[in-house]
Structures are given as C-alpha cells and as structure tokens.
Amino acid sequence: MAPLLEVQGLSLAFGGVQALDNVSLDVEEGSITAVIGPNGAGKTSLFNTISGFYRPQTGRILLEGTDITHRPPPKRAALGLARTFQNIALFRGMTVLDNIKLGQHVHMKTGLLAAGLYLGWAQREEIALREEIEHDVIDFLEIDHIRNAPVAALPYGLQKRVELARALAMKPRLLLLDEPVAGMNREETEDMARFILDVREERGITVLLVEHDMDVVMDISDHVAVLNFGREIGAGSPAAVRDMPAVIEAYLGHADAEADMPGASGAS
C-alpha cells in the first residue's frame, strides 16, 4: 500500500536561507511519524509547505496518491489534512465551542441565504454539528468544562488542547502537529501524548508531528525523520535514530543537546 503522505525531493529557499533541501519523507497510513531536528532545521517550513502556505521550488507532495503540491490550503483541508501551529493560532475572539465548530466548516453545506434565514436544514445541520462535536471532540479531549469560555482567557496548555480539538473536528485523514507539548508541564504533556495515541488508536488518524521533547517522541512515534539545516540526515525507528552518529552530532552541535536527547550522549 502506498504511504498516505509522500514528500518527494522538496526544496524551499527564503532568499539565501535554504529552509528545505531536497527533503523526502513517507508517512505510512495509521502511523505516528515524528520530525525532529535543532532549532531552525526547517521543520515548520516543511509543515507549512505540506499545508500549502509555502510554494516549494522543487519537489512534490502527494496525499493518498493525489498531487497536492499546487493546491491552495482550503483544498487540502477538504482532502483530509488538518494541523496545529507551533504558535497557537486559535480564533481569539471566539469561544472554545465556536473554534471547534469551525473545524467542521468543510463538511458543512449551509450557504448564505439558508444561514441568515436559519431555515430548517441550516438549523438541523447546526444541531447535528453540535451533537457530533460534543461527543467526538469535547468529551474525548475532556474540555467540557470550558466549552463556553473565550479561548483568549485560557491557560496555554488548554489552548493547545483546544487547537487539537479544532483539528480533530475536521475529521482529518492526516493530522500535522507542530510541537504539541511545547511549553507544557509534565502532567499536560502526558495527557497530550495519551490523546495523540488515542487519536491514532480510536480513529485511525495518521499523525505527523514535530517535537523537541525527546521523551514524547521516543514514546509515541513509530518512525522518526531528522532534519538539520534543511536536509534529512537520518530516518528510522526511534531507537535506531537515537544511535545514528549524524544525528548525535547534529544535536551535540546544538546548545540544548543534553536536554533534547536523553540517552544520546551515552551512545557516543
């Protein structure tokens, strides 16, 4: 079976900076795949290219065999691509509930007239949406106590969870998570890791994530790809990647190496 996502020879430059340099990556259906690498390695750039915000100079991106390289972001959403952002990008003027409802936007049909008149099926669609979200997202992520809170007032960890909720409401095939546990305390991190596993286990959603917390990466991912200066310097199972000399070097050349790669120093 072909991988769910195929990234082939992607290159992306910003002026003189080569953010991505001939990067290739396969994400198998049903897997949790992690992309790691030091700061500025190009991880977020890779995500932005996959979601359609950056146009790569070369290379292709295939989702379920369909070439999406030149499709605008909303089209990719319709094909089942969802994501969260490294710097939370919620709709700050809205409540938690409205943020999550927006996740379902592509699956809904109500047009301008029906919406304004709140005609029968516009109403039915809204009620059905609400039921589905309550059960599949709000209960699932245990955020029922904050559903009517304005997101801007929530603590950071909860905002991250709401962003995941919004992405899940999209019922995606592939979920991109850019640093899902960054800035979280131990407990929040464990919750989030469990949610990511549940998302895959219970819904069969394929996950591609970027994360600096190596404990989480080692614990939950099936496959790890390592970027440095825009180039892929290693890929494989978590255990294999941890012992690769190139990977260790990339991390040792980096100030937070010890904190980032527990166990890596022992292997050198």
């Binding site: 959403a77 990008a89 709709f91 003027g93 809205m94 936007h105 008149l117 109403q123 609400r130 309550e134």
Partner: protein, 344 residues
C-alpha cells in the same frame, strides 16, 4: 459530561434568544417599538425612522468591519448606489418599492463585490484606502452622471405605495423601516451563529487558520463585502423613500465616517453594537442641539461649534474608556443586575 436529552438540550442551547431574561428584553423592545408611533409626535417618528435606517446601515458596515475585520471608508457610497437605483427604477420603470428596495440592495452588493476584489491582496490601512477611492469615484459618478442621477441637484421620486396605501407620513414610513430593520437584524443574528458567519469571524481573527479549516479567503471576503453593501443599499433605498429625494451630499465621505464611528462606539462585532451605535450617533447631536437651545437664541451660533467638539469628545471618550463600545457597557450593566440581589 452531559445528562438528559441531548437533542433538546442542544436545540435550546443553539436557540437565538436563549435565556428567559433575553426573551424578556426582547418582549420589552418589541412593545416599545410597537407602542412608540402611537405616543410619539411626527418629529419623534422622524428621528426614529432615521435611527432605523442608520441601524441597518451600521449593521452592514459591522458585518464587514466588525465581524470580518475589513475596514471600509466607502459605506456611504454603497448606500448611495442603493438610493439612486431605487430612485431610477421607481421613476423609469415604475416598479413598486418592495421590488425596488431589494434590487437597490443587490446593485449595491454587486458594486461592493467589485470594490472588495483587492481585499485578497491588500489588508488593513491599504484596503481602507481602496474603499476610500471607491467612495470618491462613486461620489463623482453621483455628481456627474446626470441622466441617471440628476447630477448635483439630485433626483426626486414618488412615495412608496402598497395596496393603495401611500407611505408618505412619518407614521407609515416608520412601519416600513421597522419591518426592514427587524428582518435585517434577524438575518444578521442568524448568520453569525451558523457556518457562514463563523467563517467571517475566522477570517478576521486568524486568516491562516481559517484557510487551514478549508475557508476560501477571497470568497468569504467578497461575500462579506456583498452582504455589507446589500445592507447599505437597503438603507440607502429606505432613505430615498424617507426623504423622497436622492442627492450626492447625502452620501459623502463624512457619512461613511459616521457609520464607521457608529459601530466603533457601539461595539464592533456584535449585533447590539450596531444598534446602540446607530442610536447614539443619531441622537446625541440632536440632544446636544436641544441643550444649546436652552441657552437662548443668541448662544446657539456660538454653541453649535461647541456641540461638534462635545460630540467628538464623546466618541474619543468611548475609544479610550470602553474600546469594546456601548454593547460592552450594556453587558456589564446586565451582569451587575443579574447578580443583584440574590446571586453571588
């Protein structure tokens, strides 16, 4: 976790006037609106008519600027397009008002879409300047396209008429305006609790996320422009029937600023904000005028400029002390009132 009948619970939760309290307020508002024309004199009804028209127009700019985050400095021009369309259709085709009004709205919407096209590429102040350009270009058209607009003198039109009743007194026009206003407000209120309206707000709050959610930015922005201009066109059309004359100086840049100020003062991005802002902006100059009268005829000339200053200061005061507008103040009052005296 929720217990009980899900369906009923969500239905109630998604309803427009959810709480008993909001239903009571709605009842009071309806009673006031219905009773008003029977107790007010023709000046009161004239002011009420003006307020109703301004509420429709302010709600229109609120849709674009308050909810979608696109600043418009050309709202009055869209109102003018509606007004001239109505006058022209009424004079040259002889269509009744209930056909002219929606057509006026539609023509304004079409012009609004054209003006909105740059909004994909430009944002913020730059977009504001583009709408400013539209204001001046359309103003020029109103002045110069004599065969259609009557040029600088403007054009007059016959009173609206339905089933043999001529709507030419303040009393009759009041009802026409109230009906259109209520429909326009209900439409807007519904819109913003469903998919389409949420997309508008999403574009305002985070356009990057909106795209990831599958929202087409250009389409959403153009829809906002169209709807906002439709409201402006309706308001302009009502103005045409209200004054029975349409002329360029009714739809100048300063009127656009007036509308923008109304939603800023009232509270951007809430339906109540457009309503309160329009009431405030229409009434305060009148009230200040009344006050200057108290000081006698001699003082009127001198105080009329002071009146402008006070009006300006009030607006600035709002921006400084309550950036979220009258709607927010109202919310706070309600909260105090909810707590008092039983709840804690």
């Amino acid at each position: 976790m929720l217990i009980g009948n899900f369906k009923e619970r969500y239905e109630a939760d998604e309803a427009i006037f959810r709480t008993t309290r909001s239903r009571v307020w709605l009842g009071i508002a309806v009673a006031l609106i219905v009773a008003f024309p029977f107790v007010g004199n023709s000046y009161h009804l004239y002011m009420a008519g003006l307020i109703g028209i301004n509420i429709i127009a302010a709600t229109g700019i609120n849709i674009l600027t308050g909810y979608t985050g696109l600043i418009s400095l050309g709202h009055a021009a869209f109102m003018g397009v509606g007004a001239y369309t109505v006058a022209w259709l009424s004079n040259n085709v002889g269509l009744p008002f209930y056909i002219c009004l929606p057509l006026g709205g539609l023509v304004a919407a079409a012009v609004g879409v054209v003006v909105g096209i740059p909004s994909l590429r430009i944002k913020g102040l730059y977009l504001a300047i583009a709408t400013l350009a539209a204001q001046f270009i359309l103003g020029f058209v109103f002045n110069e396209w004599e065969p259609v607009t009557g040029g600088g003198r403007g054009t007059s039109l016959a009173a609206a008429e339905i089933g043999g009743i001529v709507l030419d007194t303040e009393f009759e026009l009041y009802w026409l305006i109230v009906v259109v206003m209520v429909l326009a407000l209900l439409f807007a209120r519904n819109l913003f609790r469903t998919r389409v309206g949420r997309a508008f707000i999403a574009v305002r709050d985070r356009d990057i996320s909106a795209e990831v959610m599958g929202i087409n930015l250009l389409r959403t922005k153009l829809t906002a422009f169209a709807l906002s201009s439709f409201y402006a066109g309706l308001a302009g059309g009502l103005m045409a029937y209200f004054f029975k004359v349409v002329s360029p100086e009714q739809y100048t840049f300063s009127v656009s600023i007036f509308m923008l100020a109304a939603v800023v003062v009232g509270g951007m991005g809430t339906i109540l904000g457009g309503i309160l802002g329009a009431i405030f902006m229409t009434l305060i100059p009148e009230i200040l005028g009344e006050i200057t009268q108290i000081f006698g005829a001699g003082a009127v000339a001198m105080l009329s400029s002071a009146r402008e200053v006070v009006f300006g200061l009030l607006i600035v005061g709002f921006l400084v002390f309550e950036p979220r507008g009258l709607a927010q103040i109202w919310k706070r009052i309600k909260r105090v009132y909810e707590i008092w005296p039983f709840r804690t």
